[in-house]
Amino acid sequence: MDTRIIVVTSGKGGVGKTTVTANLSARLATEGYSVVAIDADIGLRNLDVVMGLENRIVFNVVDVIEEACKLQQALVRDRRIENLFLLPAAQTRTKEAVNSKQMKELCDSLRGKYDFVIIDSPAGIESGFRNAAAGADEALVVVTPDVSSVRDADRIIGLLESGEKKSIALVVNRVRPAMIRSGKMLGVSDVSDILAVSILGIIPEDDNVVISTNRGEPLTLGSPSPAARAFENIAGRILGRDIPLPDPGSLDEKGLLAGLKKMFGRQGGRG
């Protein structure tokens, strides 16, 4: 089994790394792949609540690294989705409790056993980020279409490139289609032009993200929503399926309607 180890990172906090890690992991597992989601934000544990597994934690990633328990004892199995596991962060320790070498060894110990390892990185560019990225081959950089997030993403991409990650791709989160249509928000193409990195997915701002996080239920298990669809597509692209990126201005009902009107009403105009 060829294990793909992907770090989800961003530089800036609050752009949706944990949401992306949780929902992408859930979706890949729903597709039948075995997935371990690792919370690498030592001291600020969060992936567990977003995934809805907070009540079932016994051991954590630091326990595994310090050999206080076996890896299998620390993995929390999701009961809703087969083959989805969480390796939680330690809450009462600091990021100094682990180093890059240990994280790399931990990741390597998962190779061959699972299809995917998805690592939720802490914000920032310091040791926490470096530890999270140490064992990964690929990186997903989550960015929102605003100046501070894009700027921080640029720093992170520079650091990832110097760390020789095999592939780096962007996930543009919290896209607001109406604002894009009226030219009030950076477009997805602006973000990828500026950062010179290709885009793996576009996630529209969607109330369902808040609702699913409140409940600790993965989006893709709930009712269909624009964000759920976005995660299905991102997972599909990771799996090598040829799924074209949507027009970011069309990702809400209004945009879809306008798109349909254009499709039926146009006479040789631009599509």
Partner: protein, 91 residues
């Protein structure tokens, strides 16, 4: 004032975000680490030494910033220019 100007010129906030980011990233990216600069210096010496003998100690390398642009300025004292000869790749 800048804000008012943009308002009256009708530049969309998307365009201003894009322009400002491009500018700020030029500066961010130009802040290269001393190690990177040292690697660049070594690479330059290696490449230039194929063509001329240079004084390695006399090399000055810096990034100069001027408004919207950044320039790599190198001063490399040449001691001797080598006679041109064919290299393997040129044949």
């Amino acid at each position: 004032m800048g804000f008012l100007n943009r308002f009256f010129q009708g530049e969309s906030s998307r365009q201003s975000a894009r322009k400002r980011l491009q500018l700020v990233l030029i500066h961010d990216r130009a802040d290269i680490s001393p190690e990177t600069l040292e690697r660049l210096r070594e690479d330059l010496i290696r490449v230039i030494s194929d063509y001329m003998v240079i004084s390695e100690d006399g090399i000055e390398l810096e990034l100069e910033r001027d408004g919207n642009s950044v320039a790599l300025v190198a001063s490399i004292p040449v001691l001797e220019v080598k006679r041109q000869r064919f290299r393997d790749g040129d044949r």
